[in-house]
């Protein structure tokens, strides 16, 4: 009864917030419809081939976002804190992969034809790079949790967040001091050369599906499925879900809560490391700043899908990737401004559906 009376009360007088919400919503939808109409029907500048190209770019980048976003969501689901340094953990993984490729490129297997190790055994080289990246990131994540987050577990919410911001700055500058601020280029095995790819003819135009893109997308899908199975099917996953639900009860059931939290950080680190190597293989450049923007975007993706929700992070990542590549074309703005689109989407989602696409409505305590 109390509920009905409050909802009636709300119906009578709209708050400033709701009015603002409605105005922004109407404006946004009108603008979007007008732009879509202009771009698709009136102007028709982009043919199907261009749209396909956008979709490919979006899916590839979205896959990477999704993998990073899962790391955020896992940690958030358990500790209700944003692991702000997640992007930097990914950056360290990308550097680890870079060094492995670099080292394997120095090792020459066939001196006559100058075949390097990474070209002679590309699969092995790639696996090695991924393993190293995952280990480096995972160790960083676990160490970070142990040093910077564990002592603050009972502190007010702002405290661990600031600690995480500090850790992020620390790691970024550590990388800058160690590896210098210069940009480094990934040396992929020839089988995964950047720029090369299958060519599809659409609408009389060539559309290239890059090998690295396909590789990135497939690996990210495999990682996502693997993680989903891990969380849903294994004992470890069950323990993680139990801790996410209620730490005290989980502890009473004989679950080692600290251990599970460490494992969660390890898994999120593994995913971040893999994402870092994928980023390096596909985009080709690594520097100390490379984790920042993907980190924020992935967080956006996690919020978009509903933070704390693993399938949500996957959907959110792919969705964000596509929006980012298609958005500038639809809105008719400069492609430089795609970051602005991502953040605007974040703000819009938070206005209209703070729980995200797939997220359940969380209690006040959790949000």
């Amino acid at each position: 009864m109390a509920e009905t009376s409050t909802s009636e009360g709300r119906k009578k007088s709209l708050s400033t917030y709701q009015i603002a919400q409605i105005i922004i919503g109407v404006l946004f939808i009108t603008y979007l419809t007008w732009r879509l109409y202009t771009v698709l029907i009136v102007e028709g500048v982009y043919g199907p081939d261009t749209w396909l190209r956008f979709a490919i770019t979006g899916l590839v980048i979205g896959g990477v976002y999704a993998v990073i976003a899962i790391g955020y969501t896992l940690v958030y689901g358990i500790l209700f804190m944003i692991n702000f340094a997640h992007g930097e953990i990914m950056m360290l993984g990308a550097f680890a992969g870079y060094f492995v490729f670099e080292a394997l490129n120095v090792v020459i297997i066939d001196p006559i034809n100058k075949v390097t190790f990474s070209n002679a055994y590309p699969v092995l080289a790639i696996i090695l790079a991924f393993l190293t990246g995952m280990i480096v990131s995972s160790v960083t994540a676990v160490t970070l949790e142990r040093i910077a987050y564990r002592p603050l577990r009972t502190a007010p919410r702002l405290v661990p967040l600031i600690s995480a911001v500090g850790a992020s700055i620390f790691l970024q500058n550590l990388a800058q001091l160690m590896f210098s601020p210069q940009q480094r280029t990934y040396i992929n095995p020839q089988a995964l050369e950047r720029g090369a790819g299958w060519t599809v003819i659409v609408n009389g135009n060539n559309v290239v599906i890059p090998y690295t893109g396909a590789f990135t997308f497939i690996v990210s899908i495999i990682l996502m499925v693997g993680l989903y199975l891990l969380v849903k099917r294994t004992r470890m996953g069950r323990a993680m879900r139990a801790v996410a639900e209620n730490k005290q009860t989980a502890a009473l059931m004989g679950i080692d809560v600290d251990g599970v939290i460490s494992q969660t950080f390890a898994i999120s680190g593994i995913l971040a490391g893999a994402a870092g190597v994928l980023w390096g293989i596909h985009n080709g450049v690594v520097n100390h700043y490379v984790g920042f923007i993907p980190g924020i975007k992935a967080f956006t993706a996690a919020v978009l899908g509903g933070i704390g929700n693993i399938p949500g992070a996957m959907v959110g990542g792919l969705f964000l990737g596509i929006i980012e590549s298609v958005g500038p074309a639809i809105l008719g703005i400069d492609f430089q401004l795609k970051d602005v689109i991502a953040f605007s989407i974040l703000i819009l989602v938070l206005i209209f559906r703070p729980s995200g696409i797939l997220g359940e409505v969380l209690s006040e305590e959790k949000v």
Partner: protein, 533 residues
Amino acid sequence: MPNYIRNGLRSGFVFGIVIIFLILIGFTRVANELLAPLVKGTSQLPMGFILFMALLGLWAGASAAKRSPVLMGMPDTYQKWNAIISGLIAGIIGGAFVGLFIFVLGSIQTKGMDMRVYLAQLSPDAIKMLTLGRVAWAGAFSIWLIFVITGIAGGLLALFSDSFKLGERMSSSWKNMSAGIGDSAIAKTVNQNAVVRYILYGIFIIILLILPSFLGKYWNYTLGTIGIYIIMGLGINIIIGMAGLLNLGYVAFFAVGAYTVGLLTAPAPQGLHWNFWIGLLVAMVMAAFVGWLLGIPVLRLRGDYLAIVTLGFGEMIRVLVRSKALSSIFGGPQGVRDIAGPMIFGQRFTEREYLYLIVAVIIFTIFITIRLQNSHLGRAWGAMREDQTVAQAMGINIFRYKLLAFALGAAIGGLAGVMFASRNQYTGPEDHTLMVSVNVLALVIVGGMGSIPGIILGSFVLKGLPELLRQIEDYRLLVFGGLLVVMMIVKPEGLWPSKRRQLEMSDVDLPPETDALQVLEEQSSDQKLRGES
């Protein structure tokens, strides 16, 4: 495994890893330069580096021996051996890590490979220093030996300091220090006695008035920068310290202020040539408006979301002003040049006059802050910060008060932006990076949220110290990041916390329930006692 062996292993391991990182970030080279004046080094032997290593070895040994519990009733010799063995193990293990690392570096070096391609700090000179100018294995072995010896010495030191109660005295004095300047007797008198406080303020203002005339252009400029950061600290203090809303994109408001005044007064790209003072007012209003506008959608969110959205917003503004597509409006990557400033006798303000202006603005802002703190607004914010739900139940319109906090904080941020842009006569996208937000946040947190002297102290520490210590400037951000983490763990209320905040934050240390109950019981028993008397 006995405790003392495990402690030795652990300490050696941690120190070994940390020293390897110090080598990788090139800090050993800086330490060599910093410590060199203390010991007479020769051109062959980098004595500063050796001293640095010896100090770290002492520390490693001491910390290993310290961890071992003092066993009551055990003979003295037993404890002595315990301490020495843990120190020795720490030295051996830590030294082994470092020695091995140096050996590897030295061997690669002799093969003629330039490691700087991959690891920026490992120049041939740096490696020559690490190996003490010898062959790789000899240098590595010497370092190892130094570490082992100092490890044992550290263990003994810990033992002696124990028997002289040195450690306790040290730790208690450290505790006193870390209890904060806010707790010291001077600060107490300052806090409690209004007359003393006003006299101190008066002296401070007089010093501020006289000082700039004696300082050169450079120091006036630096002090001005510190002053601008104080203004920003005071502004973000309204948002974070008073209203408890974490804002990681404060630079957005700074940028709005700087760009508004720039676009209104500069000849290009708009060519408006407005008067500076009108531009200043418009910029403040504009910043407040942007804060309000941003606040409407995001203030419904709590803590973490708010942090990320504001962070994104800060980056968004930078991307917008830098973008070539909008360069006809904002000037693009080149920024805005020839921004007008205040005039005196037909002349532009010099660095010194800007310093006066900035100090005046700081005093104005402090005045506003104090007035806000004591008004119903400040109390509403305090209630909101402590418990939003309860505040709402008390009839506080949370949304409106949050918006107000955002708008006011933004206006002050805009004011700081105006000062910055007009003093430099230029503003560009690179003035408004994320690091500005982080610096401001860091200085408020280091100084103490909600505390005006804390903010001033924080800006001097974070912006002033690097000016004095040019050698460690490269490590400033690294130290920043580490400092934020350490502060949060050790002293989340800041160096000079406000009384109220100290009380709030002290809750953190109480384990849940039991202690709170005890406190309640004590309070009630106190009341009973009072009632009886």
